[in-house]
C-alpha cells in the first residue's frame, strides 16, 4: 500500500487514490486511422522501471496529477501537474 503525495492534500494512503494508467497520451484526431485509434484504446507499454502515470485523489480532493514512479521499487521520483510535461 503506497504512500502518495497529492499536490493539494499532502501524503495519503494508496486506497484514497485511483490510478489512471500511463499519462502523456494524446487523444488522436477524429481522422485517425483504425490502427492509430486501436493503439490509443488498447495498447500500452509496460516498463520495468521508470513509468509516468496519472493518479486521481478520488476519495479526497478529486484532482488528477502526474507521478513518475519506478514500477519495481515503487520509488516515486516526482509528482507534477496534470498539464505539465515529464520532468
Amino acid at each position: 500500500m503506497m504512500h502518495l503525495a497529492c499536490p493539494w492534500c499532502g501524503v495519503r494512503d494508496e486506497p484514497e487514490f485511483v490510478c489512471g494508467g500511463t499519462t502523456h497520451i494524446a487523444r488522436p484526431a477524429p481522422d485517425a486511422s483504425d490502427h492509430e485509434w486501436g493503439e490509443y484504446l488498447f495498447f500500452r507499454d509496460n516498463p520495468k522501471g521508470l513509468h509516468h502515470e496519472r493518479w486521481r485523489h478520488a476519495y479526497g480532493c478529486g484532482q488528477w496529477f502526474n507521478v513518475a514512479r519506478d514500477t519495481v521499487t515503487h520509488e516515486v521520483f516526482s509528482v507534477y501537474g496534470i498539464g505539465e510535461s515529464a520532468p
Binding site: H3, V18, D34, W37, W64, T73
Partner: protein, 973 residues
C-alpha cells in the same frame, strides 16, 4: 509439582501462584499462568501431540516458538474454534480446550497411520503420476478430504477485531537484547519509537534466563516514552515502509464462557520512517533417520522450556551437534538435573571452539552422526555412527530426548520482503542480510551478529544514527562459530525428514533433483517443502543445502525462495476488522424509507440502494403485487421513489459544448426548460449510461444518470475536463444525495398534483413532455421534470432530501381520491418493458453500440467529436450481423421467456444468434413479453425463433416494440 517441573529460578515466565486448568483431547490437565500449551503438556508428561500430514506419523512438540512444525492443535469450539494453532505459542487460559489434528479416532490410535505402510507409493508429487486411471476425478474428493490438518469452524465468529493505523519515526521489530538497545538509543536521540515483540514479555532469548544486562535494558526502555506492544507479531513489510502487525489482546478476555463481542485481535498498520529488524535467528535442525519422532526437538527449544517455563523435556538426552551452542545447552541442562548421555558432533574436534573442560563427563563424539532412532510414539534410544559412512563402530545410547543443534538461520524475512538481498556466510553456514533493504536495518542475530558485545554496540549506534538521520554502520557479522553446510548422510531405509509439517524427506529432495528440477522455486512446489503453515522455518535452509548437494551447487547459487507476507499465519478476522455484516457493503437508503415501510414495502438491493421491490397486501406474493401496482398506475395513478436516480449539475460558459462532447445527442441545442434523452459512450463506442439531460439556464444543465452509474459518470466527466479538455470552463457537481425524487405517474397524475395544490403552470397543457421547470410547493423549492420511464403521463418532482418525507405524506393523504397506489421496482420493470425502454446493463452489455439499440441515425448528424465517436466507424461497428434490440412474444401466448435464454434455430450445441435480456408478464396485455438482442434483429420482424434454456426450448415471434401504446399518446397527457 510434577517430576518434569523444574524448581525456581527456572520458569521465568510462570506465575506459579495461579494454577490454570485446561483440556487436551478430552482429558483435563493443569498448568500455571504463563505456560504455553506445549510447556504445560511437557509438564504433564504428554509427549504425543499430533499426526503428520501425509504419513500420519506420531509427532510431539519440536520447538519453543512460532516455527513449530509438528505440535499443531485445534483450539476452542463453535464460532471460536481456531485450527492449526501452535501449541508452543498459545498461552493457556482457564478452560482452554485443545485437540490434536489430522488423526482419527485418536492421536494414539490413528487409522490414517495406514498411509505409512504405503509411503513408497506416496513420494513427493505422487499425485502427478498416480491415481490417474480410470480418472483423477474418482480419487480427487477422497484425497482432498485427507489433505489439510485442522478443521475450521463453520459458525460465525462472535468476537471482534479492530484495525489501527500509526505513524512513527523508528519502528523496532523484536524485543530481545538488540532490539531493546536500538530502541533505547533511537529514543534517546529524540525519535518517536515503537517496539513490537510477539512474546508476552520483553527480553527475547536472554530475557528468559533473567540475564541482568537485559533486565537493565528492559527497565530503561520503560521510561523513555517508547510505545511498546507485546504479543504483537509484525507479519509483513509493504510499499513505502508500511509494516503490518497482528496484536493479540490479552488472553484473559478469551475465556469461552463470555458472550460474543470481546475484542480479540488488532491489526496495526504502521508507517515508519525507518524500521529496525531485531527478529533473532531460528535454529537449523540436524537431518538423521527418524528425526521426527516425539522426543526429537531443537536444542535451543529444550533450553528455553527449562529457563522460561520451568519444565524438562526429558530426563536423559543425546545432543546432535553442528554448532558450539550444543555444549552450552548441554551444560545448562545438566545444571537443571537432566542427564546428558552424549554430544554427537558431526564436526571435527578442531572445528569446535568450546572449552571441553566445562562439559565435565559428558561423552563427546566428533565426526559422528545419529544413525538410527528407536521408539515410534516416543524416543527410547539412538545409535551413533561415524559421519564418514557405514564403516566404523556403532554405539547405542538409551535416551528419551534427542536435541538438534544444527546451526543458525537468521530470521531475514522482513529484510527480504522489503527487497533486501542475502549473502551466504560460509563459516556458520547461514544466510545473512547483504546490505540494507530500503529503510530496513537489521541488528542482532537476524543480521548475523552473534557476539553479544558486537550486537549491543551495533544496535546502539544504529538506533542513534536513525534518530539523527546519519548513515547506519555495517553489521559486524560473526560470532556464531563454525557449522558444516550439510550434515546429512544418505542412508537406505528409515526416512530422514527435511520438512516435518509436509512429510518431505531427503529422498524426496533427491527425487526432485533426479527428475531434473533445478530452480529452488520448483523444488519447493514439487516436493511441497516449506509450503506448510510453518512456511519452512525449520526446513528451508536444509532443503536448499541438500538440493545444492544433489545438483552440485553451493547454497548461494541455489538461492532462497521468495519471501512473502505473512511471516506467520494470521487470522482472517484480523484482516476483515469491522468490515463485516452490515458494514461489509453499506447500502444507501432512501430519505423517505420510513414512509415506504409504513406502506408495507418489501425491500431489496438495487445497485447499492435499499429500495422497495413492491408493496404487497397481506397474503399477496411479490409478483402479484407488482402486477397490481403496474395495473393501478396505468389505470389511475402511482407514486414511486426515484431518489437513487443520478443527478449532476453542470455549470459554466462551456457547459453546453462540453456535454456535446460527452453525449450522443446535442445538449447544447436544448432551449432553457427543455430536456432530451441522451446516451453516454466510452471511447470504445460502448453504451455505458443513459439519462435525461435538461437545460435549467444559459450556463446551467441538470443531468440524470442511471442510479448505479452516477459516480462513474461524474468521475468520467472530471477526467475529461481535467486531463483532455483542459481549456473548457465547466464545473461538475454531483447532487444525488441532495435532491430526492418523487415520481407521480398515470392518467390522473396531474389531477393528483393539482388537488395537492401544485403550481398550475405545471399542468400538461402548459408544461409539455420532456420539459423541466423550477417550482415551489409551500415554500419548498422544487425542480419538476415531465419525463416517463413508465410510458404514462409522469412528473418527476425533485425536492430537497430533508423535505421529501413530508411531501410523501402530503400527497399520500389524497391518494384514495384517485385510487392511487405506490409502485416499486418490479412494477416499474413491467411498465418499461411494455414500452420497449432499455435498461443499461440488462438489455445492453459491454459490446452494445448505439446503433444496436436504435440510435445509429442520430450520430450522422452530430458535429462534435464526442467520446466514442471514432470507434463507431470501425468495420466491426458497421457489421450488419451485429446483435440488435428486438421485441419478442412467446408463440403460445403463455410461456414466460427465460432471461438469458439463447436464440438459435437448431438444437444446441449450435452457434447462438442472440439472447433474451428482459422478460416479464405484462399487466396491460395479460401475456408474457420480452426484449432480446438478436443478430440482424432490425430486419427480422415477424420471424419465428427458438429460445433455448437449460435443456428446454420455447418458440417466440419477433414483434415490434412498444408492446403497449406504440404512439406514446398516454405520456403526452
Amino acid at each position: 509439582m510434577s517430576p518434569r517441573r523444574l524448581p525456581p529460578p527456572a520458569g521465568t515466565r510462570l506465575d506459579r501462584t495461579r494454577s490454570v486448568s485446561f483440556a487436551f483431547n478430552g482429558r483435563k490437565y493443569s498448568g500455571f499462568r504463563g505456560d504455553t500449551l506445549a510447556s504445560a503438556l511437557f509438564a504433564n508428561g504428554v509427549k504425543l501431540v499430533g499426526r503428520s500430514f501425509k504419513l500420519h506419523r506420531p509427532r510431539g512438540i519440536y520447538s519453543c516458538g512460532i516455527e513449530e512444525p509438528s505440535g499443531l492443535v485445534d483450539i476452542g469450539a463453535g464460532g471460536r474454534r481456531t485450527p492449526n494453532v501452535r501449541a508452543s505459542v498459545v498461552e493457556i487460559y482457564e478452560g482452554l480446550v485443545a485437540e490434536s489434528v489430522n488423526c482419527w479416532p485418536s492421536v494414539g490410535f490413528d487409522l490414517g497411520a495406514l498411509n505409512s505402510w504405503f509411503s513408497a507409493a506416496l513420494p513427493a508429487g505422487f499425485y502427478y503420476k498416480t491415481f490417474k486411471w480410470p480418472g483423477w476425478r474418482l480419487f480427487e474428493p477422497t484425497i482432498r478430504r485427507m489433505a489439510g490438518l485442522g478443521r475450521a469452524s463453520r459458525e460465525r465468529d462472535p468476537d471482534r477485531y479492530e484495525e489501527i493505523a500509526e505513524s512513527v519515526d523508528v519502528l523496532v521489530v523484536g524485543g530481545g537484547i538488540a532490539g531493546l538497545a536500538a530502541a533505547i538509543s533511537a529514543a534517546e536521540g529524540g525519535a518517536r519509537v515503537m517496539l513490537l515483540t510477539s512474546a508476552p514479555v520483553l527480553g527475547g532469548a536472554l530475557g528468559c534466563r533473567s540475564d541482568p544486562q537485559v533486565l537493565t535494558l528492559i527497565a530503561k526502555s520503560q521510561n523513555l516514552g517508547i510505545r511498546i506492544l507485546t504479543r504483537t507479531m509484525a507479519f509483513g513489510v509493504y510499499d513505502h515502509n508500511l509494516v503490518c502487525a497482528r496484536q493479540l489482546v490479552d488472553g484473559d478476555a478469551r475465556t469461552p464462557s463470555q458472550a460474543g463481542g470481546a475484542l480479540r485481535e488488532r491489526l496495526w498498520k504502521i508507517r515508519a520512517r525507518s524500521v529496525i529488524a531485531a527478529t533473532g535467528a531460528f535454529e537449523r535442525p540436524m537431518v538423521f533417520p527418524d528425526n521426527d519422532r516425539p522426543g526429537v526437538m531443537l536444542a535451543g527449544a529444550a533450553e528455553k522450556y527449562a529457563h522460561a517455563y520451568g519444565v524438562a523435556c526429558g530426563s536423559r538426552v543425546v545432543i546432535a551437534a553442528n554448532s558450539d551452542r550444543a555444549y552450552s545447552i548441554g551444560s545448562t541442562l545438566r545444571e537443571f538435573g537432566v542427564e546428558v548421555a552424549a554430544i554427537v558432533d558431526c564436526r571435527a574436534g578442531s572445528q569446535v571452539r568450546v572449552d571441553r573442560q566445562a562439559c565435565g563427563e559428558i561423552v563427546i563424539a566428533n565426526n559422528a552422526v545419529i544413525a538410527s532412532v528407536s521408539g515410534t510414539h516416543a524416543v527410547q534410544g539412538c545409535s551413533v555412527a561415524s559421519a564418514g559412512g557405514s564403516n566404523g563402530k556403532i554405539r547405542h545410547y538409551d535416551c528419551d530426548l534427542i536435541l538438534s543443534a544444527g546451526g543458525y538461520a537468521p530470521a531475514v524475512h522482513l529484510h527480504s520482503q522489503a527487497g533486501g538481498k542475502l549473502r551466504w556466510h560460509d563459516e556458520a553456514a547461514m544466510f545473512v542480510p547483504d546490505g540494507l533493504a530500503s529503510a530496513i536495518v537489521s541488528v542482532g542475530a537476524c543480521a548475523g551478529v552473534f557476539s553479544r558485545e558486537h550486537a549491543l554496540n551495533h544496535a546502539f549506534s544504529v538506533g542513534a544514527a536513525l534518530a539523527r538521520g546519519t548513515p547506519v554502520p555495517e553489521a559486524p557479522v560473526g560470532g556464531a562459530g563454525r557449522s558444516l553446510v550439510n550434515t546429512h548422510v544418505p542412508r537406505k531405509g528409515a526416512k530422514q525428514f527435511i520438512d516435518l509439517q509436509n512429510d518431505v524427506t531427503a529422498d524426496d529432495v533427491a527425487l526432485a533433483a533426479r527428475e531434473n528440477y533445478r530452480s529452488i522455486e520448483h523444488l519447493k512446489r514439487y516436493t511441497t517443502t516449506g509450503m506448510g503453515t510453518d512456511q519452512g522455518k525449520t526446513s528451508n535452509i536444509n532443503a536448499l543445502v541438500l538440493m545444492g548437494e544433489q545438483i552440485g551447487r553451493a547454497p548461494p547459487a541455489v538461492g532462497t525462495t521468495k519471501f512473502r507476507p505473512p511471516f506467520a499465519p494470521v487470522t482472517m478476522g484480523v484482516f476483515a476488522g469491522r468490515r463485516i455484516g452490515a458494514l461489509y457493503r453499506p447500502l444507501k437508503r432512501l430519505p423517505a424509507q420510513s414512509w415506504h415501510e409504513a406502506r408495507g414495502a418489501v425491500f431489496e438491493e438495487y445497485g447499492g440502494w435499499w429500495r422497495p421491490a413492491a408493496y404487497p397486501m397481506p397474503g399477496e406474493s411479490l409478483e402479484a403485487a407488482a402486477l397490481r401496482e403496474a395495473t393501478g398506475t396505468r389505470k389511475n395513478a402511482g407514486i414511486f421513489d426515484a431518489t437513487p436516480l443520478g443527478k449532476l449539475e453542470i455549470f459554466g460558459p462551456d457547459a453546453g459544448h462540453f456535454l456535446d462532447l460527452m453525449y450522443v445527442g446535442t445538449p447544447s441545442t436544448l432551449a432553457i426548460g427543455q430536456a432530451r434523452y441522451g446516451l453516454l459512450l466510452n471511447e470504445n463506442g460502448i453504451v455505458v449510461d443513459d439519462g435525461i439531460v435538461a437545460r435549467l439556464g444559459e450556463q446551467h444543465f441538470w443531468v440524470n444518470t442511471t442510479s448505479g452509474g452516477v459516480e462513474r459518470t461524474a468521475a468520467a466527466f472530471e477526467e475529461w475536463l481535467q486531463c483532455e479538455f483542459v481549456g473548457l470552463k465547466v464545473a461538475v457537481t454531483p447532487v444525488t444525495s441532495r435532491w430526492a425524487n418523487i415520481t407521480i405517474a398515470g392518467p390522473h397524475a396531474w389531477d393528483w398534483l393539482a388537488e395537492a395544490g401544485f403550481d398550475p403552470a405545471l399542468a400538461p397543457h402548459r408544461m409539455k413532455h420532456m420539459n423541466v421547470m423550477a417550482s415551489q410547493y409551500e415554500g419548498v423549492p422544487l425542480r419538476v421534470l415531465r419525463a416517463s420511464f413508465s410510458g404514462e403521463l409522469a412528473y418527476e418532482v425533485n425536492a430537497p432530501v430533508n423535505r421529501v418525507r413530508s411531501l410523501f405524506d402530503r400527497l399520500w393523504a389524497l391518494a384514495s381520491r384517485f385510487n392511487a397506489v405506490p409502485y416499486g421496482i418490479e412494477a416499474l420493470q413491467t411498465l418499461r418493458i411494455e414500452k420497449g425502454y432499455i435498461h443499461i446493463g440488462t438489455d445492453t452489455d459491454g459490446t452494445t453500440l448505439p446503433g444496436d439499440i436504435g440510435f445509429g441515425r442520430s450520430i450522422d448528424h452530430k458535429g462534435a467529436n464526442f467520446v466514442g465517436r471514432r470507434s463507431l466507424s470501425r468495420p466491426a461497428a458497421q457489421d450488419p450481423n451485429r446483435l440488435q434490440l428486438v421485441a419478442l412474444a412467446p408463440a403460445d401466448g403463455r410461456t414466460l421467456l427465460p432471461v438469458g435464454g439463447q436464440i438459435a434455430q437448431a438444437r444446441p450445441p449450435t452457434p447462438t444468434e442472440g439472447h433474451v435480456t428482459s422478460s416479464v408478464m405484462s399487466a396491460a396485455l395479460g401475456r408474457p413479453i420480452a426484449l432480446a438482442m438478436l443478430a440482424r434483429g432490425s430486419k427480422r420482424t415477424g420471424e419465428r425463433v427458438r429460445v433455448h434454456h437449460l435443456g428446454k426450448s420455447v418458440e417466440a415471434d419477433v414483434v415490434t416494440a412498444p408492446f403497449f401504446d406504440p404512439q406514446g399518446l398516454r405520456l403526452r397527457g
